[in-house]
Symmetry: C2
């Protein structure tokens, strides 16, 4: 415990040493004297106490003080002069020795309201996008989209595989991993995509990514030059826009018709793009499945125009009826399609593993792009996922989820029909993990306000629309929510809306927890 | 087992069903018929066998064939006509039904030598960079740099923490994780940086990254606009160049003097940059530690000019003598410094976890940039690392490595002196994990050729130099290699060089394994 008493001009009150702290005493002393110098409490040329004197004042060993002084001297803060003891160095610039100035530059550690103004123009756009993302923080409630059935994931299997793998992959776990991905996982993914999605590939074509978002980022790095045009469906998955814009592309919204991206209209009216982004299995957010004829038309156009087609098959695993169709990639005869998908929407969201199928001859280039972005995906998760697929758990989980999601979708559609049929129309979807609600007997604003009032979550389609006015509709995710919780949410929503068919109203307090703004799941 | 016999024009020889395969028989049949159509072996309008007939020919159940036909019909490949059986659809475009054309577009799955020509201009640069990276594949041999002592990592501790954590973090493991990082890890990193590196920050300022490379990528996204200038040390860590160029920056090489980046010379002769990248603890690759006066000069310049300073403290943990100095970030009074570091160089390379300290008010913007890049780092590894730090294992490991690396560096310096003193000069380094060798009595080319001939690895400094002619010297990593293996490598190198002081030569066969080109550690 330090004894605090003034010694000459040196303010010992500012020194507080703690023998129980993580840092040894000499480091604590060094840091505190350094701070006193930097904050101007010790001035250039000023004498500091002798090591013996300070040790006595503080009740610590003289060697401790000497060690701190030695280090401060070697760092240039203190200077020892023969015959006149130790002083604060005179060569420290005056500027540094004053307290932080008032003015536009905020002090470190102090959040400045003007912080964002210091970003680049692109950085300000990213930060603005971040505020939108903040809406999805907190524990999800019905019907926040993009979330699989966490309650139905076979966690005990995953944990068993993890426990086994983390002890059995010494080289993988500790040495450098291939940027293209862990080889057995690439093989497992190639086998799965070939058998289940009609994708033509071998393990050599597979690039393991941290998910579709990163896959698109890598594609933009490798295939887009500044000034290139990129077609994006309207409405569409606008989250990919910043990746293309980062690469200097101009992103052009291309309208849909009932079959998805309207190729011939776009070809007539829009500038020729370097790349067209499509989600043919289940268009985000409309849910349209692109029929075979349109797929062939799109491929024919890509072949003629020399454009790339980026096929985002983010939820191709989940189809409940209608026409199962092979991936565009499997129909492609000219190597123009880049196929990408993710495991985080099928297994669990914090698993940041996805894949892309590189066009012929380009896998190594994708490996280089990944190396420059962030090196590689975590080896343990890659190995566990490979085991999960090879052990048949992945195929079984998809089968089970297909049944479960059909049931969960049915519960939402049925309870919407029972509770909200005068106000909202929610047709069944033949694929994916979400439904689209459209206002029929009330304004969309009133419907949204009612939902927000009782903690019912949704994404407005306008969030994915660049058109003026934006496309109408609300996106309702259903995969994560058991039927009973969906029904209760729908009842509360109807009650808040004062709808026509309110049966057995539920107090809002019985709902799943609403998101707390700013709350982060950790 | 299928019996293969021709039925009308339908080539049953092309069908090979395997009852033991992962896919059920009806899916195998569907895929093979689809392929026959796409490859032109079945023509539009052509009749296919009846379900009964094909089932009999193949020795499988009629329901299996019917199921395959149903799906192909729903996909549009087959059409059932009343009274005339089932035919291949006539509406499939002719183009699709031919075999892949000869010509510039390679067929999927076939690597085209012209693949790279289809990349963007930027993509071709990335691919070229990737070929350089390929040189470091395979098991590392002395003296490949950038690798810590894998043999001395406390793996049993890490595995124990992983085993415990993977069962005890249910919400973290399965729900969405904060893009800024797992909160307890952010707190542990803030505590460590404050106590050991003189960094002024709280957990709110910490952004967990996938390593320094990704940190720089995020910084480029947020702080750089097209046309901005970026200063990079010459020679310097050129690997960061593509990240800045991706953001549209012009990267300018700025010369060093004995104290590191020559601020006043650069200020006089170079265009004013938006950001200056420096590695003041241990300049890569020269090893220079920037003294306090130069640090203050750099900060003063940044304050005056409004530029950002990116401080890469990639190996600040390892200092063996000389002047320990606080981070630039801790000296900064105007919030111009972004501090970044990594755990992969301190613990093990496949652990893709690092950190940056965001300038005041900007952490949330970094979170948004990370979300758009790849969402977040893996939660399990983040939690294990937090436990590793909080349990004191991290501090202990660093202490032990400081001793071990000093010893390993000494072994390299000593054996170079004993074996190669007539040809190569390798002065001791006061920080980091590498040494710089300079040719003295032989040409650098001869020295490099001798090393390559016996599987001794190095990075030429020219790899990190944009000057003409490039800076001379060879980078030798030592941290990963026990003294005996370093000594043997040095002896083999000397023998290959035919040097003047070859003592006890070692046959190359006794060396650690040399890298096999293209080999990937998986």
């Amino acid at each position: 415990m330090p004894k605090n008493s003034p010694t000459r001009r040196f303010d010992l009150d500012s020194l507080a040493l703690d023998a129980g702290a993580r840092d040894p005493l000499h480091l604590q002393l060094r840091d505190q004297i350094r701070r006193a110098i930097l904050e101007g409490r010790l001035r250039p040329g000023e004498r500091v106490p002798s090591t013996r004197g300070l040790a006595g004042s503080l009740g610590i060993g003289r060697n401790t003080v000497a060690s701190a002084y030695d280090q401060l001297t070697s760092e240039g803060y203190l200077a020892a002069a023969v015959g006149s003891g130790t002083r604060v160095s005179r060569t420290l610039p005056e500027r540094l020795l004053n307290a932080p100035k008032a003015g536009p530059a905020p002090a470190p550690g102090v959040g400045g309201a003007d912080g964002l103004s210091r970003l680049s123009a692109r950085g300000r756009e990213i930060a603005a996008f971040g505020r939108l993302l903040g809406l999805d923080r907190g524990r999800p409630a019905p019907f926040r989209p993009h979330i699989p059935a966490l309650d139905a994931f076979p966690r005990e299997v995953w944990e068993r595989l993890t426990a086994r793998r983390q002890k059995r992959l010494p080289r993988d776990l500790f040495a450098r991993v291939d940027s293209l991905g862990y080889r057995p996982l690439r093989e497992a993914v190639a086998g799965y995509l070939g058998a289940s999605r009609g994708v033509r590939c071998t393990a050599d074509d597979i690039v393991i990514t941290a998910g579709v978002q990163q896959g698109i980022d890598l594609i933009a790095r490798l295939l887009i030059d500044p000034g290139d045009k990129v077609w994006l469906e309207e409405p569409g998955y606008l989250d990919v826009r910043p990746a293309f814009e980062m690469a200097g592309a101009e992103v052009i919204s291309v309208p849909l018709d009932a079959d998805g991206l309207d190729v011939s209209a776009a070809e007539r009216s829009q500038p020729r793009p370097r790349l067209a982004y499509v989600s043919p299995s289940c268009q985000w957010p409309t849910g349209i499945t692109m029929p075979l004829a349109r797929r062939l038309e799109l491929l024919s156009w890509a072949d003629r125009s020399g454009a790339w087609v980026l096929e985002d098959d983010y939820a191709g695993e989940f189809r409940y009826g209608g026409r199962p169709l092979p991936a565009l990639q499997g129909l492609d005869r000219s190597g123009r399609v880049i196929y990408t998908g993710t495991f985080s929407k099928v297994l669990f969201p914090s698993l940041r593993l996805g894949y892309l199928v590189a066009p012929p001859g380009l896998a190594e280039a994708f490996g280089a792009a990944r190396w420059l972005a962030d090196r590689h995906s975590p080896p343990l998760e890659q190995a566990v996922l490979a085991d999960f697929i090879d052990g048949g758990h992945f195929a079984r989980h998809i089968r089970q989820m297909r049944t479960l999601y059909a049931e969960r979708q049915g519960a939402v559609v049925d309870s919407a029909h029972a509770e909200l049929s005068g106000a909202v129309d929610i047709p069944a979807a033949e694929a994916g993990m979400h439904l689209v609600a459209r206002a029929v007997g009330a304004s969309q604003e009133a419907i949204m306000a009612a939902a927000s009032g009782v903690g019912v979550e949704y994404h407005p389609i306008s969030r994915y629309s660049a058109a003026t006015p934006p496309a109408p509709g609300l996106i309702l995710g259903y995969a994560a929510y058991p039927p009973e919780s969906s029904r209760r949410a729908m009842q509360a929503w109807a009650r808040a809306l004062g709808g026509t068919r309110i049966g057995h109203a539920t107090p809002a307090a019985a709902l799943p927890p609403a998101p707390r703004p700013g709350e982060i799941i950790t």
